[in-house]
Each structure stands twice: as C-alpha cells, then as structure tokens.
C-alpha cells in the first residue's frame, strides 16, 4: 500500500467516525418521539384527508335530483334488484356508461343512481354494461337467457341461473327490463311479454306477409335432420325463387350491418352508434309479420336503419323478411345440394374457370382477412363449419350445417373443378344461408378468399389439384412443407426455456456462490460499508 493510500485511509476513517457520531445523534433525535404525538399526527392527517374525500362529497351530493331515467323500484323490481345483488351479478356487469362508451346508451349522470342503495356501479365488464339495458331485448329473451345464456347467446360465459324459481327469474327480468329506461310495462312475461315494443301504427297494423303460407307449406315438407325435402315440388320451386331473391336483396342491403348470419356483427356494425338488431334474437321472439314489415319499411328512428319503402317495393320487403326468418332456426333446403354441385360443375366446364390470381403470400393473407370478417361466423375460424352461428355449435342456428372445408376440400379436389368453388362463392347456395357474394365482394376478393379456403383442404388433395393451378411458388408450396409452422417454433422455444430454467435451478447455487465471492471481494477492497452513513445524512 502506497503512502498516499495509507493517508487516504486514515483520512477516510476520521471522516467516517465523525459521520457516525452525527448519524447517531440524528437517529436518537428521530426516535425520541413519544407514542402519543406520532399517533395523533398520523391519525390527524388521515382524518383530514378523510374529511376531504368522504365528508365533503357526502355533503356535496346531499340534494341530487333524480334524473329522467331514475325511478322508484316497484316491489317486483326491488325483489329483482335484491337477487341481482345477492347473486353477485354486479361483479361482471357494470352499471355506468362512460362518455366514450359505444352502444350502451347515454353517459350516466349523478341523478341516475338516486334510488340505488347500495350502489351497483361495478368494476368489471366481463359481461356488457346494464345501466340502460331495459327494453333493448324482448322480455322472453331475458328469461331464456337467464335460465341458459348459451341458448340465445352463443359464446356467452354467463353462469346458468336455472336454479332460480320462475318467480325469481321474472323479478330479475322485471328489474333488468326497467334499467335506464322510462318506466316500462314489461307485460306478461309468461306469454312473451313483448309489450315494450311500440304498437304497430295504422297503415301497417294488419299487414300480413303474402309468402308466409308458402313458408308454412315448405317447412311442413322439410326434414331438417336428414336435410331432405319431401313436400310438393311446385312449392319447392317457388320457394327456391322467393328465398333466393330475398337472400340476394339481403346481401345487397342488409348484410353490411346485420351480418351474413344475422347476428348484428356485420363489418359496418361497429361504425354505427346504436348496435344493429340481432336478427336471430329478435325473430326468436317474433312480434309478428306486421311489426317486421313496419320496421323494415319505415326504418327505426334514432338508428342507422333506413326507411326501406323508399327504395324497395312491398313484395321485395316481404321476400327479405321471408329470408331472414331462416336466421331463427335454419332454412328449408328445397333445392338439394347435389343439384347446386351440378350447377357449379356445369359452370366450371362451360367457362373453364381457373384462379385469376397468382397465389402470393399477400393474396393468401387478404383472403384470410376476408374469411375471418365474413365467412368465419358460420364456417368457423378453422373452416370446419363450426362457427359461432353454425348449428354445429351450442346456441348456433344456421342450418343446414355450413360447409366443412377440411372435408369438402376433398370433394372439391376429387372433382377438380375450380368452377364449383367460384360458382358457389359468387352465386351462393340455393335455399341455404350461403349468400351470393358477388353482391358484397369483388371478383378479386372472391379469388383470394377461395385461395385461403383451399388452404383448409388436406395436403394431398391440395398438392394434387389446387397448388398447380397457381403460378406463385407460395401457393404451390403452401402445403408442401410444415417446418415453418408456428406451433413447432413455439415448442422449441418453450423447451429451450424450460431446459434453461432447469439448468439454472440445478447450477444456480454454484454460480451464485461465485458471484457472491466476487461481490464480497469488491466490497472488501473498494467499498467500506460504513460509507452508507454518509447517505443517511444526505437524505
């Protein structure tokens, strides 16, 4: 050790001793407090803040007038509210509409809650906000939904409340149906209780749909389980025509908002302030022909629903309504699947159809986007015909079951006719819910989505038939190599990570001991611990 270092050491020691002494006095000073002043000061500042955040708001909110949607609860509603609270509904359903929320109603105001005790503002939205849910759905919908949510709302994760008595369910629904609305008469819930619907005004009061009798004849002759039509062939032919014109009109006018499966999740639905009607739900509690014809003809005030009688005649409107009735529990397929296959093949042979895209990665990706936007709700994300709206899924209703592309990909491929794909995508499939997409998509988009759908076909069929029809290497090799699958990569990463963790766990003591020794060495050499007291002082 050099002289200089020795000198420094001595100097340092002196300084530290001094600091230590001082530090001791400071510590003593701090701790000489008695208990009483500490507690008194601690409690005082706490009470000061409490007076600001509890007492002041209490006085501030003493005389809030009730808003127009606040109302005293009737005994039935009060009972429903007690159930709502004791079953803990408010843990998943908030009751406060924020100014920037979308589709839940007006922003909540302080007067909305005047009659609520205790409050039920909630903190989560695992389910939708219920502050102004009243009247948004038919009473019978709520009753079915509370007993078994997935019977009317596929994909819901709400628990079943089937264990409640009918009286309890009625009380609960009475509370819900009056949430955030002018006090409504929910009517007799056992009969459907749709009386919150405005009554149909004069010119429409007694209108009937001219095609309803035909629909009844056709439905009587159709066996949905085996997908066979045994009824009159004349009625079947008429039905095919009426149904398909209705479907074409629906695709042109309604699909953008109401969605191709009528579930209110069309591509524009997010851009309108009031959610479009969920046709499946609405029609499951069908208020009657006259009501539907009135709503479609005159539009719905305060929503984006136009008055269609300005651009469609009565027959057209009635055909559309006949078509959307198929969103209740499926359509009657009077035009057999084999005939539409034959039509598609004939079209393919006539035009010698081939894909008009080269099959690049971006074609495939765009096809995927369109598929997820339009097709997946029925055909499913994985193309197996099991989307949320499909009859194959709990709570689904699109029947006959939508095509399963992993299977039909084989059918298509064995037949080898690109025209069949193109025909069915462009023109739809007669008397099913497959729309004629030529009214909603460009040809280019249809080619891309077909390319994406072909990707669901088994590899051998794809490689034999579809791959060679494209020019781009991406399409040709789409099903040839599986090494880039993300699943495998993930597995490799996961395994490496776990192996690393295991290694570290086994070895960490040794490694840490080394680190610890190195650390101690540094400490001993360079870093007198007592230096910390200097930090104490600077604080």
């Amino acid at each position: 050790m050099s002289d200089l270092e020795k000198k420094l050491e001595e100097e340092l020691e002196k300084v530290e001793k001094g600091i230590e002494k001082e530090a001791r006095t400071i510590r003593t000073r701090v701790h000489q407090h008695n208990l009483f002043p500490i507690v008194a000061a601690g409690v005082s500042v706490m009470l000061l803040m409490t007076s600001m955040v509890v007492v002041a708001p209490y006085m501030f909110l003493l005389d809030v007038p009730p808003s127009s949607i606040a109302h005293q609860y009737t005994p039935l509603e009060a009972r429903g509210r007690d159930l709502y609270l004791s079953l803990g509904c408010f843990y998943c359903h908030s009751q406060q509409v924020r100014p920037y929320d979308w589709g839940f109603g007006n922003a909540s105001a302080e007067g909305d809650y005047v009659f609520d005790s205790p409050h039920a503002l909630g903190t989560e939205r695992t389910g939708p906000d219920l502050a102004q849910i009243g009247g948004m759905r038919p009473t019978i919908w709520h009753i079915l939904h509370d007993k078994d949510p997935r019977s009317v709302s596929p994909g819901s994760i709400m628990p079943n409340f089937g264990f409640l008595s009918d009286d309890d369910i009625n009380a609960l629904v009475a509370y819900i149906q009056n949430q955030g609305q002018e006090n409504l008469d929910v009517g007799n819930s056992t009969t459907g209780g749709a009386s919150y619907h405005p009554s149909v005004p004069d010119p429409y009061t007694n209108v009937t749909n001219q095609f309803t009798p035909l629909m009844q004849v056709v439905l009587a002759g159709y066996d949905p389980v085996n997908d066979v039509y045994n009824g009159s062939s004349l009625a079947g032919t008429q039905w095919t025509e009426i149904f398909d014109i209705g479907k074409a009109n629906f695709t042109q006018r309604c699909l953008a908002c109401h969605g191709c499966s009528g579930n209110s999740q069309g591509p524009y639905a997010r851009h309108v302030v009031t959610q479009p009607a969920n046709l499946h739900e609405r029609l499951s509690s069908f208020p009657g022909d006259s009501y539907d014809i009135w709503r479609v003809s005159e539009g719905v005030p305060g929503t984006a629903m136009p008055a269609w009688h300005l651009s469609l005649n009565d027959t057209e409107i009635q055909r559309i309504i006949i078509y959307i009735m198929s969103f209740v529990f499926g359509s009657a397929r009077t035009f057999p699947g084999s005939m539409s296959d034959a039509e598609g093949d004939a079209f393919g042979n006539r035009t010698n159809a081939t894909p008009q895209i080269s099959g690049t990665q971006s074609d495939f990706d765009q096809g995927g986007q369109i598929f997820r936007l339009y097709c997946a709700q029925c055909h499913g994300e994985t193309g197996q015909g099991d989307g949320p709206a499909s009859i194959a899924t709990d709570g689904g209703y699109i029947s006959p079951q939508p095509a399963n592309f992993t299977e039909s990909g084989r059918d298509f491929a064995e037949n080898g006719n690109y025209g069949r794909y193109l025909w069915k995508a462009r023109e739809g499939v007669e008397t099913t819910n497959m729309p004629p997409w030529k009214w909603a998509l460009s040809d280019d988009e249809i080619y891309k989505v077909i390319f994406y759908v072909q990707g669901f076909a088994p590899a051998e069929n794809y490689n034999a038939v579809w791959g060679p029809q494209y020019t781009d290497p991406f399409a040709r090799n789409l099903k040839k190599t599986v090494t880039t699958g993300s699943m495998e990569t993930d597995l490799v990463i996961l395994t490496t990570w776990l192996a690393g963790l295991l290694m570290w766990n086994l070895r960490y003591r040794q490694i840490l001991n080394l680190a610890r020794i190195a650390k101690l060495k540094t400490l001993v050499q360079n870093y007198p611990q007592r230096r910390q007291f200097a930090w104490t002082l600077t604080c």
């Binding site: 509890v54 708001p57 909305d112």
Partner: protein, 476 residues
C-alpha cells in the same frame, strides 16, 4: 442456514409474555384459510371458460364464489397472517412482554369465527353487495370488536416498552390500530344497519374509500412494518434510514387515504374528487419510493442473500412486487390510462399482484421463518420450502400473464368499438392460461400449508420455556 446462528452475546433474554402463543393462534387460521380460499379462486377461473361448471346451485354461482374468495383471503388468510406477524414483531421491537396475551388469542378466535360466518352468509346470499365490504352487519360488529381488542393489546404493549426508541415498524402498527377501525366504520356505513349502505353515488364513493383503504391503511402499513422488521432482521443489517421511514409513514397516512376515487374516474362523481384521487395516487409515490429506497439501500451489497435464504427470498419477492404494483397503480390512476385499462381483467391482475404477490407471498416467507421460532420446532422440510418457492414463481408468472393479456386484449377490442360479446371469444385462451397458472398457485398454497401443518404437529425441538423467551435482537 445462516440466521440460525443468530444468538447475540451482549443482549439480555427477552420476555415476550406469551406473544408466541398469540402469534401461533393467528397463524393457524392463516395457513388453514390460504389453500381453502385460493381453491375458490381456481373454481372461479374455471368458470370463465366452462361457464356451466358448478353452476347448478346458488351457493356456488360465480357472483357468490367471488366475494367468498376475496373476503376469505383478505380477512381470513392475509389479515390473520399479518396480525400474527404483528404480535411477533411488536414485543420484540418494543422489548416488552405482550400486554394481555389472552385478549390477543380471544381476538384471533373471534375474528376468524366472524370471517367464517361472513363467508358462509355471503355464500347463502346474505351480502351487503358492496365490493370488499360484503360481510353482513353482524359480522362487521364482530370485526370492529376484534379491531378494538387488538389495538388495546398492541398499544398497551407499546406504552409499556423498555426500548426507548420507537422502531419504524411500531409507528405503522400504532397507526393501523387507529386508522383501520375508522376506515372500517365509515366504509361499512355501520351506523346504518342492516343494509350498511347509503344511496346513490355517495355510497359508491364511501365504498371505494373503504375498498382502497383496506389496502392502503390495512395491508400496506402491515406490509411496510413487516418489511421494515424482517428484511433488516434476516439480512442482519441496520435499516438504512429512519428519516425515510418517517416520510413514508406520514405520506402513507395522508395520501393513501385519498386515492379511493380513482376507482370511479369515469363515474359521474364530482370532478374535484377525481382530481384529489389522481393527485393522491401520484403523491402516494412519496411513501412508496422512500420506503423502496430505504429497503433497497438496506439490501445494498447483500442482495445475493435472497438466493441462499429462502424465507428472505419470499419476503423480498413480495417487497419487489409491492414496489411494482404501486408504480403500476399510480399510472393506472391517471385518467387516460384508467380510461383504457378500466373494466377488463387488467385491474384483476393488478389486485392479485398486490394482494397475492406482494402480501401473500411475503406472509408465506414470514411464516416459514417465524413458525419454527414461535413453536420451537424444526421446519418440516426445507426442501419442500424450496420447491414451494419454485411452484409459486411458476404459478405467479403464468397466472399474471394470463390476466394481463386477457385485460389488454379486451381493452384493445373495446377501444375499436367491439362489443363485450364480440370480444369475449378472443379471451378464452387467456382465461385457460390464467386457470392453469392459478391452479399452480393453489398447488403452492397446499404445499405451504402442508409444510407448516406438519411443523406444527411435530415434536418440539427445545424445551417449552426457551420458546417463550428469546435472545433479543435489535434490528437497528
């Protein structure tokens, strides 16, 4: 382990006056409640992707399991563990026998009977339906009585102390026994039985004053006091600065009290109240950062001890999670951030990060360390304790990731004007991940409880008298 050789020659034996018995009583409840009520949480997590799971009776429906899970863990496990720790720390730091230990034991029994009764009443549907304040009025009264009895023993011990200085932990313990009865009384609207509620927005404001201060003026000061004692104690280093601890004490008393309004930032409560809440949430950082600096500087140079000392590892992990969750909380309280993150699974993740990861894991560590000392028995298995740590860490990571991602995904979807129903299918994978992580957490809770139960049931290592007194260790 190094801390086993802790006897210091120059200190006189400490007469604890039966404090160990009281601590033991509280701990018994803590380790019994922990696995039971985390299992409730797992049932809930499964309901998120199998909604028909156990949905056939009112008792087990989601809306009742959830408050049972929350109240059971908050007041059963966490509070029992923290109060038991308080009875461990106070006589040692005050260097005085515990005042009226029998009252302390009685309080433990009354408290836990009240919690059990409260949970059963909630499951039966008798709830006040205010988040965190669900327990019925009768139970509230029992809890208040316990709080007062507890305060009586603690203050009695502190005023009879032989150590002149008041160590930081004692400040917080002395504060808690006055703050929390006030918070509990106001928050539960106890003057208004049986509903225990006011009406309208006032009720929501008082609910969240209470809801946040269960954390701010109950768990947090308990946690701070605990970390102030155990970290210097286990590392054998003086607390870095007493001045910083004083700042953290007063900042906590003032700012934490006012943050409740940030739960209602988008509700139509008065704007000035929101401003107070946001500012308090920001200034709360005074308390958090002074405390964090203090402990961090105390730990300087000895962080490696958390790798060799398993109880310390639990405690420090809890400490780090507390700092993380506080910073997260402050940012979440800003209006824009809150607007984005509100209503999803993110806040659920936030509350688990604080209550489970910060306080729950800390209590696990504290109990691993103190149970052998209060019972005079050898810990059943150190290997199992180490395994428990790894299971806890693995479960925690998966559990948090699941909830965080589910929250962000839902928030992103809502911000593009998707409805709740539309966004729900995207969340299923995260819900499954969350249940898997939660399941691992439950496993760790069982491993912990088994280890501690066997320790309790084993034969004492030393004669009973020595467990009553202990060589005094002054952490400063």
């Amino acid at each position: 382990m190094s801390e086993d050789k802790s006897a210091q020659k120059d200190t006189t034996p400490l007469d604890l006056g039966g404090a160990n018995e009281v601590t033991k009583t509280w701990f018994v409840f803590a380790f019994l409640w922990f696995p039971v009520f985390t299992t409730f949480g797992l049932i809930m997590a499964i309901k998120f992707f199998i909604p028909t799971f156990l949905a056939d009776s009112a008792w087990l429906t989601f809306g009742r399991i959830r408050p049972a899970h929350v109240n059971g863990l908050l007041f059963g496990f966490l509070s029992s563990g923290l109060i038991g720790t308080m009875y461990y720390v106070v006589p040692r730091v005050a260097n005085a026998p515990l005042y009226k230990p029998n009252i302390g034991k009685f309080a433990a029994g009354l408290w836990n009977v009240a919690v059990l009764a409260g949970v059963i009443m909630i499951l039966a549907g008798d709830t006040q339906a205010r988040e965190y304040a669900e327990m019925p009025w009768v139970v509230d009264v029992a809890v208040m009585v316990t709080l007062i009895l507890m305060g009586y023993t603690i203050i009695g011990t502190i005023v009879r102390r032989r150590e002149h200085n008041l160590y930081s932990s004692l400040w917080f313990y002395a504060g808690i026994v006055f703050w929390f009865p006030i918070v509990y009384f106001i928050g539960n609207v106890m003057w208004n039985p049986p509903s225990g509620a006011l009406s309208g927005l006032t009720d929501s404001i008082i609910n969240w004053f209470y809801g946040h201060n269960v954390l701010g003026l109950w768990f947090t000061p308990f946690g701070l006091a605990l970390w102030y004692y155990f970290i210097p104690r286990l590392t054998k280093r003086a607390l870095y600065s007493a001045v910083l601890s004083v700042i953290s004490f007063f900042a906590l008393a003032f700012f934490y009290t006012g943050v409740g309004g940030h739960h209602l930032l988008q509700a139509p409560i008065p704007e000035w109240l929101k401003t107070i809440a946001v500012l308090s949430s920001l200034l709360m950082m005074f308390s958090v950062l002074t405390f964090g600096t203090n402990i961090g500087m105390t730990m300087r140079g000895v962080w490696h001890m958390m790798f060799s000392n398993v109880p310390l590892r639990f405690i420090l992990f809890g400490f780090l999670c507390y700092i993380a969750v506080s910073i997260q909380g402050t940012f979440q309280a800003f209006r824009d951030m809150n607007l984005y993150l509100h209503y999803s699974q993110w806040p659920v993740m936030h509350s688990h990060l604080s209550l489970y990861a910060a306080f729950g894991v800390t209590i696990m560590g504290v109990m691993f360390w103190t149970v052998p000392r209060v019972t005079g028995k050898k810990l059943f298995s150190k290997k199992l304790m180490d395994v428990t740590w790894w299971v806890t860490l693995l479960g925690f990571t998966i559990f948090m990731a699941g909830m965080m991602l589910a929250g962000l995904e839902a928030n992103a979807a809502w911000f593009t004007h998707m409805t709740v129903a539309q966004a729900l299918p995207f969340l299923t994978p995260y819900f499954i991940v969350r249940a898997i992580g939660g399941g691992i957490v439950v496993v760790s809770a069982f491993l912990f409880a088994i280890n501690i139960i066997i320790t309790f049931l084993s034969k004492p290592l030393v004669p009973h008298e020595t467990s009553k007194t202990e060589t005094g260790v002054q952490p400063i």
